[in-house]
């Protein structure tokens, strides 16, 4: 009879974390940052049809890095959760914090109990009503850890370096063009990224119910050039 190998829990967790991190580091990153008019998400993405950033609900956006099919599954689950809550209660009862917690539960479970951990990191952002510090940016890691960011955050490969560049350049009251330019340069480092290699979407504080808006390549190019 063969005996199963004993693996220390620390080792098992470390192996899983290394596995997930490797998968995430292979992909290209994204950043989210607050600006005067809301929250903007800038992702490095050469594809015009496979999206990393998308709309979840009226004031909530989602972004993911890592394995596409895995974060897309999470995106759809988030839309479902939000729509079900809004349908059964009220649209006002849907918020990013609850959604971030639900994502954390799912990712945490898959990390400890699943066949393999999900190779994704996701971002849930919500634009507040007043803009007086009520915007929210949640970063949820492959193991279910949730980090709440005040101003800006970076996800994906080389996140530490990107975060460094991002926080160096960040200042209060950036306009949209400034925020997109900072996001793009933080992602690029010593490379340079053109508008076609970027996917940009914003959550705009305003009178419209649906705050999410995608920016086309032309608009991004204009913002980067200004």
């Amino acid at each position: 009879m063969s005996m199963p190998y004993y693996v220390a829990p620390e080792q098992a967790m470390k192996d899983r974390a290394d596995f997930a991190r490797k998968g995430i580091a292979r992909g290209r990153g994204l950043v989210a940052l607050r600006h005067g008019g809301g929250v903007v998400i800038v992702a490095e993405n050469a594809s015009q049809s496979l999206r990393k950033v998308s709309e979840i609900y009226d004031r909530i956006a989602f972004a993911g890095v890592g394995k596409y099919n895995e974060f897309d599954q999470l995106r759809v689950a988030g839309i479902r959760q939000a729509e079900l809550t809004g349908y059964q209660y009220s649209r006002d009862d849907v918020d990013a914090r609850t959604l971030a917690n639900d994502y954390a539960q799912l990712l945490g479970n898959s990390f400890t109990h699943g066949m393999k951990p999900m190779e994704v990191e996701i971002l849930v952002a919500e634009v507040g009503l007043s803009g007086g510090g009520d915007d929210q940016i949640f970063h949820i890691m492959y193991d279910g850890t949730v980090v709440d960011h005040d101003d800006a955050c970076a996800l994906g490969g080389d996140a530490d370096a990107v975060t460094g560049r991002l926080s160096d350049g960040f200042r209060e009251g950036l306009d949209l063009a400034g925020a997109v330019t900072l996001g793009a340069s933080a992602l690029a480092g010593d490379r340079s990224l053109s508008a076609n290699e970027l996917e940009v979407a914003t959550l705009e504080r305003g009178d419209d119910r649906r705050c999410f808006r995608r920016l086309g390549a032309d608009e991004v190019a204009a913002l980067l050039g200004s």
Binding site: L74, G78, I79, R80, Q81, E83, L84
Partner: protein, 262 residues
């Protein structure tokens, strides 16, 4: 609440009604109700014009001979370029509109692109059909769906029967208890290539005549400042006509009626 994640075999896809039943949110079946106990909504119309469509509906809901609401909104925006108007049992109708709005947006977000206008009309058809048990008891819902087809660059409109039958109309359509009168007024006043203002005026006129002849249809309530809901849907999307403009249109109708009877 755990996130709704499904195996690919039983994934509800882009159908929000299926998601609701998979999530255990079901609607109770109704039974033993008399139609006169339930608020009913009445006259709604839609009209095609040069740049799109105009929709309109009165504000009255009745339970038998009682006026149960004076400011009901029967014409509502479905999404950026379409609207839906309802006649029939108010409760199921309001619920149907809510489900329809959620369904359109849900599809758009999950799928990444919006349904075509015809797809939306078809979707509403299945919602009307799902109310068949209610319809058998006299609690039917008969909507109108209209919008601007951004692919064909034209306004389009559909009406339905209680069984979910879907009929695309060319120029104008009316539903509800006052539909005979409203429909006749639109038929008489319709010309091809109406402009926006003329279309709004004709819609108002048709609702006025319906309210004159049908007790379940409310006219403009000048005392309380409650006017029918009129909305224009064109290339730029849904735009509800303001009360000030409607007041002017109805004041014109009143004075012409006064002249002809003096």
């Amino acid at each position: 609440m755990a996130l709704p994640v499904f195996e690919s075999a039983d994934d509800p896809g882009t159908d929000f009604s299926r998601l609701l039943s998979r999530a255990g949110v079901t609607q109770p079946a109704v039974g033993g109700l008399r139609p006169e106990d339930i608020p009913h909504a009445t006259t709604c119309v839609a009209l095609r014009f040069d740049g799109g469509v105009v929709m309109g509906g009165d504000r009255r809901a009745t339970s038998g001979h009682l006026i149960s609401h004076r400011s009901m909104e029967k014409v509502v925006q479905a999404d950026s370029h379409s609207g839906v108007a309802i006649a029939g049992a108010a409760g199921p109708a309001v619920e149907m509109i809510k489900l329809f709005q959620v369904q359109l947006e849900y599809y758009e977000k999950v799928q990444g692109n919006a349904l075509s206008l015809e797809g939306k009309a078809n979707q509403l058809s299945s919602l009307v059909r799902s109310n068949l048990p209610g319809a058998m008891q006299g609690l039917g819902v008969v909507p109108i769906f209209a919008g601007f087809d951004t692919r064909r660059e034209t306004g389009r409109l559909w009406d339905y029967d209680v069984l979910g039958g879907r009929y695309e109309e060319r120029d104008h359509v009316a539903t509800g208890s006052g539909s005979l009168h409203a429909g006749t007024v639109m038929k008489m006043g319709y010309r091809s290539r109406l402009d926006r203002d003329a279309a709004v005026a004709l819609v108002c006129r048709s609702l006025w005549e319906a309210a004159e002849a049908d007790s379940a249809t409310g006219g403009p309530d000048m005392v309380r400042g409650i006017y029918p809901i009129v909305a224009v849907i064109d290339r730029d999307g849904w735009d509800r006509v303001g009360d000030a403009e409607l007041e002017a249109v109805f004041t014109g109708i009143v004075s012409s009626a006064r002249e002809s009877s003096s």
